[in-house]
Each structure stands twice: as C-alpha cells, then as structure tokens.
Symmetry: C2
Subunit: 217 residues, 2 copies
DNA sequence: GACTCCGTCAATCAAGCGTTTTAATCTCAC
DNA sequence: GTGAGATTAAAACGCTTGATTGACGGAGTC
C-alpha cells in the first residue's frame, strides 16, 4: 500500500487512520501501521493526539462532519422529485458511502463499524446522522407504499430496514461474496448496477406488498 | 464473568472460546482470557487444538454443525413444498440461527463475524456450509421468479443477496435499531414476526420484479 | 550568535500476546 | 503397587503492541 502524501503530519495521520480503522476496527488496527501509511513517526500520534484512543475519537468526530457535508440527507434531490427516484438516490449514495474508494471513503465504513460494535460515541452518531437518514428513508418508503402508512409506523420502519439491509449486505459480506461470485465488481459501474437491482427489488416489493403487516416495531 | 464449569477441559475451552470469539472476533480475543473463562491452563489450547487458529477452526466447524442441526434451512420442508413456504422456512431459520439465545447462542454470531472479518478458515466454511445454503436459496428464488431465471444466473444471485441482507441487518445493527425503535423485540415471537415481514417483502418483490435485470454477477 | 518554541526522529520501555518447554499429576490396566 | 500414557500446570520464550524518552533541526526573535 502506498503512502498518504497530502497535508501536514496531523492531516496525514487522520487520513491514514481513517483507512486503517475503518478496515480493521479499533483494536486490530495498529499505531505503527497507521504511521507507516501516513509517512509519520510513531511518536507523532502521542504528540498530536495523546494516544491511540485520542486519534480515534478525533477521527470519529471528523467523520460526522465530513459525512454530513458530503452526504446530506437530502442527497441533492428535493422532496418534489418522484419517490422512486429519491429511493434510487438514497440507495446509490448509501452504497457509494460504504463501497466507494474516494478521498473520504472511510467515513461510511467507520460508521458502519461503529454500528456493529458500538462505542460511547454511538448515541451522538444516531442522533446526529442516522436518525435523519432513517426518517428520510421512511418518508420515501411510506410514499411509495401509498396505502396510508405513515413514516412513523412499524410498517414503514420494517420496509426501511429491508432496504438498508440490502445496501449493507455486500459491504459486510464482501469476502464471502467474492468467493461465491468472483466476477462481481464493486467499481463505480458495479455499484451503480447493484444500486439499480436493490432499487428495483425494493420498488417491486413496496408497490405490491399486502396491506396487512403483522410485524412489530 | 464467571467460569464455564461443565464438561472436560476440551469442552470447556470450546464453550468459552465460543463466547469470547463471537463477542470480540479472532484477533481481539486472547487465549489467556478464553482459558481463564474455561478454568484451563493456557497450554491446554496447544495440547488440544495445536494453536489459537486450530481452536478457532474447530469452533467454527462446530458452530455450523450445531447451527444447521438446530435450525435446518428447510425446517423440515421437502423440495416438494411450495417455494413460498420454503422461502419462509429459510428466512425464519436464518434469523433464528443469528438471533437465537440459549446454550449455543454464539454459533450464529461467530459465523457472521467470520463473514465480515475473514480468517484463513473462510475458504472451508464457504465451500462446506455457505455455498450449499446459497445454492438452496437461489433455487427457491429462481422458482419464485418463474421467468426462466436459473439458480446460477446473476439475477438469482442478486435476489438471494437481497434476501440474506435483510436477514442479517437486524443482527448487525442491533444497537442502532434499539435506539431508533426501542420497542422492537427479538424474542421468539419477535423473530417470527420479522421473518414474516422479510418473507412477505421478498415474495412481493420476486413475484413482480421486471424481467430485465442489468446487474452483473 | 544565542535563545526558544515547535515538530520530528530513532531508540527504548513495560506490558501483553501466542506459543513452547519441562515437569508434575492423574488414570488405569496389569 | 507400578509403570505407561494421557492430561494439566508453571514458567519462560520471542515477538508485537502502545507509549515514552531525549536528542536533533528548522523558524522566528532579540
């Protein structure tokens, strides 16, 4: 793996830590590997962040800021756009956040990790970032259902879970999927194709779902 | 945490390792902690399993055996049963394996963890356990699609991913879901309700999916 | 030039890790 | 009881980890 080269030492450390932490988790990531990737001395972590945990906390805070700025819950589409298109935008951007390889690709991955192995920072993340996304998706879903379901109903919540679950699946089971279907790509075109499938699958489900849904919430 | 007390050293080690590995993952779990929980000497791992990875592999194999025996994917249904019922059985058993409590609650957690953070043991797991499950689900899905799609087609693979993704979602995002919807239960009745929703959602999607699916595999 | 502040560096620390060795202990047929 | 094999226990090995040290150099000030 090549090195992070932009910015001063502190910025390079954040960038490198984002990649490593998001891929391996807090415990499995090592300070030495982060510093190697950042082209920095191991002592730089102590100097700039106190310790490994200080670096992680700074990173998580930064992830919120960047995530909210780069992926606002509105996703560029106004509420006047057709619900079908808004669903597709939601799915596509969600996938991009998890699978994308851009400059801040680690933001989405880091949050997904936090979601599975929560730290005390989870409360803040849910309130600030996840809840707005959840509300937005439930609004879209309720609109597509078009059977009187309100966004706050259990029915909308369950359907929203079904959509998000499909999006996260390839991210969380990448190794297995690569073995079951080695030809499945996750480049930009592959992500787009996947977003298309998940949107079609979910639209088909939502538009024809029986009216009664006994699942609780 | 109190100690595991039943069985001989080897059994106690397996039981303790199941709890620790499933909670912390392979890397973060330590042999010393496992042995402390099992009331065993650290050398016992080397004696009975060779090394840490040997213990993990034995455990993973046991996890699949136990999980599949307790919750067989067809739940007693033969291939002559309607595809809709077989899908429901698959989803319900999958959820039970992941969310079920009791003596062997760690089985599903361990498998999910291996899927997200693969170890060298993944190859064997895929070949022996995951692939057959994948084939079974794709057969069910292809039958419900009823549009000429074969189980080995990309279309069936994508739809199977959509189903499995929904099943794993609540398990992998439990902390977040508990905050978004504190009333959602995961006892036996809650699991059954969730299985009903996922099955209905997927059936609705599969039965009305447009014929053309450009997603790759 | 002398001094200070800031940032970096190689070197090192103690602690914890998985693993191994060696000896002690247990089990049980004879 | 005795010896042999199976099992456990204690201690140490080599290694990696996160954290820390003290020296070094550049930039700015007087």
């Amino acid at each position: 793996m090549d090195h992070v080269e932009v910015g001063d030492t502190k910025e390079r450390l954040m960038e490198a830590a984002g990649r490593i932490f998001s891929e391996k988790g807090f415990k499995a990531a090592t300070v030495r590997e982060i510093c190697r990737l950042a082209n920095a001395n191991v002592a730089a972590v102590h100097y700039h962040f106190g310790d490994k945990e200080g670096l992680y906390k700074s990173l998580l805070t930064e992830a919120f800021e960047i995530g909210l700025k780069r992926y606002p819950p509105s996703l560029g589409l106004g509420p006047e756009a057709p619900a079908e298109e808004r669903l597709h935008a939601f799915v596509h951007s969600f996938l991009s956040r998890l699978m994308g390889g851009g400059r801040f690709a680690w933001c989405g991955k880091l949050m997904a990790r936090e979601s599975e192995e929560p730290t005390p920072a989870l409360d803040h993340m849910v309130e600030r970032y996840i809840l707005p996304l959840s509300v937005l998706l439930r609004q879209i879903v309720a609109e597509i259902l078009n059977d009187g379901t309100r966004p706050e109903d259990a029915r909308a919540f369950n359907c929203a879970m079904s959509v998000v679950g499909q999006c996260q699946h390839i991210f969380r089971n990448r190794a297995v999927i690569d073995k079951l279907s080695p030809s499945l790509k996750t480049d930009e075109a592959g992500i787009a194709a996947l977003a298309r499938h998940i949107t079609d699958f979910s639209l088909s489900a939502l538009k024809h779902l029986p009216r009664h849904d006994s699942a609780q919430a």
